[in-house]
Symmetry: C2
């Protein structure tokens, strides 16, 4: 998505060689007009699928998922909760995730009430690098016996292992911006 | 807002006398069509104010804020981050908050880059009860010397102390559903 690539170049910050900070338009301050365009683009990319639910994870995936939902006939958006221990009451699908950013383990939880075998799920997240968060969401869909339409990612670091790991499961991954190299402050898309 | 009150009656769950669970349409699974209607209603309620930013707090305030932003000319949405310790790099506005639900203290943080004295801020959140989260957001706006247009709340428990506390500061509070009593499983709006 040209508009997003340009935004990353103009507003993104590269720190310590491999950290891309986009908190001025994506995950702290949000450019909602851009989010809306992204939602429209996800619809174009997954237009052939009859999506019944969008599944994401708190917090940075929520904004883009809600905007995207407008283009999928306002299908419900579920955001998985992260917590050190259980905080969703009742029966939950649960998966343990390792956060490399914060160096800590999390439980990822979705209430069983909101996902089942009648669902076709579009999984949306802001970033795909090693793929832990996405892996947890996929595992939860499998537990729920829900059909996975694919994964819609805003920014994928294609040189890390997450994308390949998910493609190897036979799950479609579509990224609005796909970074194949980040070196000396330069970003290469592909 | 009639539509929301009806939704709370039909889909809300009252637990242990005073806990209202609305996680099937507001803070776990989200009814995005309803969120869109709520955004439109916030615009009607704050139509006389020239809003430059919407400020909310992760995670449950994000969906409604992003939808609302569409009706405020797609103004940027900032979501404050919660953490036990600092996790936003660089200079931040910070406020300590007590969560009674989880019985723990949090830091609430907003990067100084995204809020200053030129801003007129609409603060949005899903719930107002004791008002700790909202108080932290107000305190951050004060630190930033930003003008506060008011607080837009989805559900206010008007019998708890938060609403009065904020009105007493001279800040406008507008709630889409205002609960004045919850007794024996019955909800009274007013």
């Amino acid at each position: 998505m040209k508009l997003l690539e340009e935004k990353i170049i103009s507003d993104g910050l590269i720190l310590d060689g491999d950290i891309l900070k986009v908190d001025n338009f994506l995950n702290h301050q949000m450019d909602t007009r851009l989010l809306d365009e992204m939602g429209k683009e996800f619809k174009r990319l997954f237009n052939d699928k009859k999506i019944t639910k969008i599944l994401t994870i708190e917090s940075s995936g929520i904004g883009i998922s809600v905007m995207a939902s407008r283009y999928f006939d306002y299908c419900p958006v579920i955001f998985a909760k992260k917590g050190k221990s259980a905080n969703v009451t009742g029966d939950v699908y649960e998966c343990r995730e390792r956060s490399y950013t914060r160096n800590v383990d999390y439980n990822v939880q979705v209430s069983k009430k909101y996902l089942d075998s009648s669902d076709t799920v579009l999984i949306i997240d802001d970033f795909l690098a090693n793929g832990e968060a996405l892996n947890a969401l996929i595992s939860i869909c499998h537990d729920a016996k829900a059909n996975i339409a694919g994964c819609g990612i805003v920014i994928t670091k294609a040189y890390q292992k997450g994308e390949k790991r998910i493609l190897d499961m036979g799950i479609e991954v579509k990224s609005l911006a796909r970074i194949v190299e980040m070196k000396d402050g330069e970003i290469k898309f592909g």
